[in-house]
């Protein structure tokens, strides 16, 4: 279908869905922007300190989940032949992604 015709047909649906999604998350988006401004700021008034519990927790969570090695394994319903093919798929995921 011609893209301009498709545009006419799709625009009302896309606009409705965008508005619905945007209105739903807007307050939370605002709050998260404020959080970002608050936690990333380093220019504190002279003589004040911030106990950075957040960064400590982020670092611990990163350490816990990134030092773990994740494996990807594919299984097929194609029996023995599928098994051999899936071993190659595992290799592609591990070495070729």
């Amino acid at each position: 279908m011609n893209i301009k015709k498709l545009e006419e047909k799709l625009r009302p649906k896309v606009t409705e869905e965008y508005d619905r999604g945007f209105n739903h998350i807007r307050p939370e988006r605002e709050r998260k922007r404020d959080i970002m401004a608050k936690v990333l700021r380093t220019d504190l008034p002279e003589g004040q300190v911030r106990v950075n519990l957040l960064w400590r927790n982020i670092q611990l969570e990163l350490a816990l989940f990134l030092t773990d090695e994740i494996g990807v394994k594919f299984l097929s319903s194609d029996g023995l032949l599928g098994e051999e093919i899936m071993k190659n798929a595992d290799l592609v995921a591990k070495y070729g992604a």
Partner: protein
Amino acid sequence: MGLRDQRETIVNHNALYGLSATVIDAWDDQEKQPIGDVLDPLAIIIDPNNYNNSKMAFFGVERRMSRDLLENTAGFERVKEIGVAKSSELERNKRASDDANGLSPVLSDDEGYVDIYDHFTVYEGAKWLTTWANNRQTLIRAIEIEPLTEAEKRKPTKVKFPIQLHRRKPKLGSAFGVSIADEVLQYQDAISVLTNLQLIQARNLALGADVFVDDRLGIDTETLSQKSPGGRIIPITNDTGLPTQNGIYAQQMQAPSPFIDQMEVKLENRAEGTTNVSQQSFGVSQSGTQTKAEIQTLQQNANQILIWIANNYLQGQKEYWEAHYRSYCLNMGKGKKLISIYQKGTTIAKSLSAEEFIADGKVMVYITSKSQDNIENDKEFNKLLALADLYIQNMKPGYGLNDFLRMLGRKTNIRDFDENRYIQQDVDEMEASANLPLLNKNIEVP
């Protein structure tokens, strides 16, 4: 973005926003591999009914893209019709990020960059990726997401969008999950206030606070206007009749209260109670007052929640790899995928055609975590060991015994331990191995 960077960004996004989103929406025909990206969580539009996994009726994301790249990427049309309209939301995200990092805003080249909006939706029973420009007024790309499996071909709404949502802790009814910021910031603020009060108290103790001076000492106003090291110099009128040599008085200071320290520890423990990531997660006890049993119980509880968070991350990975494999099925075509395999200290190259790693039937993806596998493996090894005496005594030599001993060997998890070197194949096993290639080619074996 590499896979490790991608996982790191997913954890960081979850820490700050409680949600991270990835997409596989392009294909590198030269390298023969899918192209994935991590999206800005503050630029996405989510179906309000989606608060768990990645099933959704629609999904959108705003992106800033170079006009040049847009013109040279297949699938985009009407690029010349795109004006300079900028997304106010993307501008606000950029400003918030620059402000937070203390950076000056970079003036974007209006002509060189355009803001586009990708919207995944359902149209006439099929799934579509549509891309819009000029504040969602001009459609510049529309691609139907092809059905792949028989089930999808029968019912195209079963096709999944190539979007994966990663939430460390999903929250019922909320598109965003629970972030670490949600869990610890109120405690961080309270502890910071107490610490700053302690800092003021310590500074005053070190330098001395306000000093009161008997005005009969006749100190001139210029000296009085200067500050003492720790505070002000304040003249007072002393009518007690005491001699003037005692005319300088320092403000009485209170000794620091141990209550503040106790309160800080209490708040920190409460914060750890919500995140479950603490020194104890690493087996370290901070307080000497807890018994070994208490520490073990706390650690077990914390571990259970950490396993839950890990499994939530793995669910996102599973969806990512399903989309990854799907992209190979749709785009690989002819040609070969070259991979370099690192095994036992050497690297070997292998080239694979589509039919060598893409199966016709239904494919399932399993994601494994090495740390969790190791825990399970150790448990299984101990159980096998407990059974070994009984089993070995009652097993006849041959396939069953060999298989049991090999499994026991594998479960030791000793690096470079090759169980087949010690338990070699018997005649039946050799025959079965020899028949395998024939079975793979669907040739009946005698």
